[in-house]
Symmetry: C2
Subunit: 327 residues, 2 copies
């Protein structure tokens, strides 16, 4: 059994807990929290809840620590820190800062002889893998990534900060015409506006000026100004009833040419349609946690990403079983 | 530069030759043929054409030999044989015999200290990878593979063997309703007939009995009897004009559930739409040839499949470049 710790018990931590139940070679040893441990109730009977302060004392009882903090401030500190004591895995998703994060984590993990997997999930993660494979296979071509339909937590939060807004949910939606053009090998150059629509469901406070709220949303720099944005005002009941999920997904498409005169077109498309963004991210992380454990068993160390890990390491099946049933 | 040999110069061999032109770190050294070398004209100026008999004498001039023979009789012999002298890669695609082929090739490659990659292409190959990744990420779910729309060489050949048939082309086409049901997470159990349609374009010889030909096609065991089959009789001119390509493609879909009570559905879908089946297969093989060369440089040996090879090995970019641009 691979003994797992979960550091941080929000949506992602609970998703990891559920995913572990679907993998019979892994067991959850303890959840670690910054809150008072006695205030945290896990989904699983009998799982220990410990303070983050006590994590290091558990270093011989945990084969891999799954870090479920945020990319803005938690993971840049936690991943290199805990890589000193544990094999670790995170879902660091600030794309621009990945090289720096990699270097920090790599130094710590190598020094300690541990494996650290960073930026695991679906983007970065499964989407990145598909970009890499498709680029290697079709060296002459174009890459497109579309996100959605799905909830953007950051954009929902931005709307909620507007005066007069009680609650809100924002969906990012790919533009169908853009997808069709890409799939048709037209190699379009797409503006931000041409790629995605933003649809907002907003609960206004009583007496709030709806026209002003709508205008503030649609003109908000970075978040909405560059998009075609649709705003619906609805009741809190309707929001709770129809928009309480956290779905997401998207498309990674590469089109490219082959042939002596580049006469043949090819389309490689990978897509995800997810009812629960955090639970799917968790499922990816748990498969890579298995891989990290195996790499450590084989004597490897240092920071790894999905690019460095042989696919077979993710599966509980043996090489012979995989070749027989999946090749 | 990675120095490449091509063994066998049919559609696949020519596809490899074209793909190498798109990869500036690789060069074609020689084509090897069973025909009289002077009768073979390559697409590239100045490429040597040698007899297969002379291949072994070139063992120090070639970093990897790409074996472009057929799976029925060529590769079971050639891959273990040439793995004694070269790093090799093949596209062995008889799924049921992969375990046996793997063992034979592994023994020869290990003995010689070479790397051998088998069963490379898109199915087996990229489709297999997607089955593995999706299964590892969603342990509780269902797998579906659909092929097409594309030309089946075997089915086209079977039609051409019918008396009164001058020429023929057969397309395998996924049934849209089945695809829709799968994507909708209905987890259908699909019969052969429910998954694919077979559409045939047939040129009859003058005076042939069309009704008999159509009946022989539709009732042919293994090939057509279990499918809904559409037969069109057309002229040779029309066949040559509209059906001379070798397109193919397909879909690998896994649907699965997560959550404490399995309340959330997820759909992972990978699809290919290819103008040229052999050229795309070649493009995959060439990327894995690069990986094989690198593994050999690192001192590894033995038989490998797409499951064993870290994705980063396929790309000409460095780890740091990949993390910066594709993660």
């Amino acid at each position: 059994m691979i003994r797992v710790g979960i550091m941080g018990y929000g949506n992602l931590g609970r998703g990891i807990e559920c995913a572990l139940k679907q993998n019979s070679d892994m067991e959850l040893v303890s959840v670690f929290t910054r809150r008072d441990p006695s205030s945290v109730k896990t989904l699983t009977e009998g799982v220990m809840v410990c303070s983050v302060e006590d994590a290091v004392t558990m270093k011989d009882k945990i084969d891999i620590m799954i870090l479920c903090g945020g990319s803005a401030t938690d993971l840049p500190v936690q991943t290199p820190e805990y890589a000193k004591y544990f094999n670790v895995i995170d879902s660091f998703d600030t794309h621009a800062r990945i090289p720096e994060h990699f270097d920090n984590v790599d130094a710590a993990a190598k020094e300690a002889g541990n494996i650290a997997v960073i930026s695991c999930g679906w983007d970065p993660g499964m989407f990145s893998l598909n970009r890499l494979y498709a680029n290697a296979v079709l060296p002459e071509g174009n890459d497109y990534t579309f996100w959605g339909k799905g909830v953007s937590q950051g954009h929902s939060d931005a709307i909620r900060r507007i005066e007069g807004v009680a609650d809100a949910k924002q969906y990012t939606i790919p533009v169908e015409a853009a997808l069709a053009s890409v799939r048709n090998c037209e190699n379009p150059t797409l503006t931000t506006r041409e790629k995605h629509i933003r649809e907002c469901f907003v609960v206004a406070k009583e007496g709030a000026d709806l026209a002003r709220i709508e205008n503030e949303i649609k003109t908000m720099p970075n978040y909405f100004a560059d998009y075609d944005t649709i705003v619906h005002f609805i009741s809190q009941e309707e929001l709770d009833k129809n928009h309480s999920g956290i779905p997401h997904g998207g498309f990674v498409i590469r089109t490219g040419k082959t042939g002596l005169n580049k006469e043949n077109n090819h389309v490689i498309e990978y897509s995800l349609k997810l009812d629960s963004n955090p639970e799917f991210t968790s499922s990816v992380i748990v498969a890579y946690a298995r891989a990290a454990y195996r790499m450590k068993q084989e004597g490897m160390s240092g920071c790894k990403t999905v690019f460095d890990i042989p696919p077979a390491y993710l599966s509980p099946l043996s090489g012979a079983e995989l070749r027989k049933h999946m090749l």
